[in-house]
Amino acid sequence: MREWTCAAISEGRHRLRLLKAAVFLACLAPLAALFARGLGVGGATLGANPVEFVLHALGKWGLNFLLLTLAVSPLRAIIGRAWPLGFRRMLGLFAFFYATLHLLCWLVLDQGLYLQGIAADIAKRPFITIGVLAYLLLVPLAVTSTDRMLRRLGRRWKTLHRLVYAVVLLGVWHYYWLVKADVREPLFYLAMTLLLLGWRVRTRLRRTCP
């Protein structure tokens, strides 16, 4: 039996903080791996087309983190514990982080800040249009991710953050449209997305019509 409940709680908090720090570092690993490849650590390289390699890796990690963010609620329900919620904001912000790097990589490394070409691509190429749109929808979510904004927005915060469903669908669509012929991987992402969104639809239906 615990003698000091307060001490136990503070120990739990301490452990959570350590775990969060560890997860934070793990979330940076994909970026670190790109740098390691770029520097040729262990003979690894970015391949013959390094810009494409970096661009695609960053985009995929943006999607991965979006899906991880969406996986938090189902995980909480399945294990019946609330602790996964403590990681959701971090995962969401990492999705924004990688999406931002992906966009910057396209603007700077791929397009060389050639504004005329960038504008034409956004206007004329649907896969780029929806990619940019997905990113723009992600921005307000990142901006309102602080505790203060959460308090200030109250119930509207939750409504606003449902935008993430649109973002992930647009993101997967963006990937699907970019691929020339082999759509297996984009379809895998779509399947994961539909699984995670489908779970939400199901729980909602159960709640409303018992």
């Binding site: 013959a48 087309n49 691509d121 190429r125 012929a181 082999d182």
Partner: protein
């Protein structure tokens, strides 16, 4: 270090870096550049530096001012879906492919048709090296020192008849050797085609080697087309059949997505792919900070080939 050649098909799964010592490739490139600098004319016989490569002459008409991509880049960044759809798949997964023995089936509107052994196909043709730009429809490009001979020289030997208006080509489709065939991303076998005057154009080239060595499997061994004014997918690899036809033959990418890939597929910065711009391209090997460069009409070969398409609406015949 013994040099292992991809041509000896039983040497499965060789790391590309082991194909030939890098120093040899580096020297080869210096040699090419030195030859260019000295303004050497065609007709100077140059054996491969390690003495085991192909014998060929360098055709100095092509590639002046271009620096070829590294052997590493040319042989590890490939689109050859029969070995997988990733750019690195062909280099990793073409080890089981056996480009010898090989035969070529000649069919259709020609006087000499039948099945010919590769040796008989190649024997009469003196090899030359041509440094060509390669522009992929995905908006990247390379410079490759091919070794081979003009396609016209090969086709004339079969005496095409006056009914031969087009030439159709087919790639090998051997499931045990080409693991990418397991996934029907395209309708196998891969097929391509040219109008007969395009095929007879002096720029149209049959490559049997690159960098003075026999073609690695992933680059289309034992023989492939090189059509530098067209997007790369027209330059069909590992050819097993050539058919002379009276009507326009089907082509694989056009069948898969007719709105995106036309029969002609001439490099044209003014006609965008529906999903991406063709105005600029990324030169492989330029590194992370290399800028895109403007794409040239007919990939810079307009002077030679533009007349083939005189009077045609290239927006419609893309």
């Amino acid at each position: 270090m013994p040099t292992t050649r991809p041509r000896s098909g039983h040497s499965a799964r060789i790391a590309s870096s082991e194909l030939t010592p890098q120093s040899v490739w580096l020297r080869r490139r210096e040699f090419v550049l030195a030859g260019l600098a000295a303004g050497l004319l065609p007709g100077v016989l140059r054996a491969a530096p390690d003495g085991a490569g192909l014998s060929y002459t360098r055709n100095a008409r092509y590639g002046a001012g271009e620096t070829p991509n590294s052997y590493e880049d040319i042989t590890t960044y490939n689109n050859f879906y029969e070995f997988g759809t990733g750019k690195e798949d062909p280099a990793r997964r073409a080890g089981r492919f056996r480009p010898a023995p090989w035969s070529l089936r000649i069919e259709g509107e020609a006087d000499r048709t039948g099945v010919f052994a590769l040796e008989d196909i190649l024997r009469p043709h003196p090899l030359e090296e041509r440094v060509y730009r390669l522009r992929c429809v995905e908006a990247w490009s390379m410079v490759v020192p091919w070794v081979g001979f003009p396609l016209a020289d090969l086709l004339r030997r079969f005496a095409p008849t006056s009914r031969a208006k087009y030439v159709a080509f087919t790639t090998a489709a051997i499931p045990e050797q080409m693991p990418g065939l397991a996934y029907r991303v395209l309708d196998w076998p891969y097929v391509e085609g040219l109008r007969i005057d395009e095929a007879m154009h002096p720029l149209a080239f049959v490559a049997t080697g690159l960098y003075g060595q026999p073609l690695p499997n992933q680059n289309g061994a034992p023989l492939r087309l090189v059509l530098p004014w067209k997007y790369g997918f027209k330059s069909i690899k590992s050819i097993v059949a050539i058919r002379f036809t009276a009507t326009q033959p089907p082509t694989s990418w056009n069948r898969a997505a007719p709105r995106e890939y036309g029969f002609y597929a001439n490099v044209n910065p003014a006609v965008d792919h529906p999903r991406w711009s063709q105005a600029r391209e990324r030169r492989i090997g330029a590194g992370v900070f290399g800028a895109r460069r403007p794409t040239l009409a007919f990939n810079g070969y307009a002077e030679e080939v533009a007349s083939l398409y005189a009077g045609m609406d290239l927006r419609r015949h893309f």
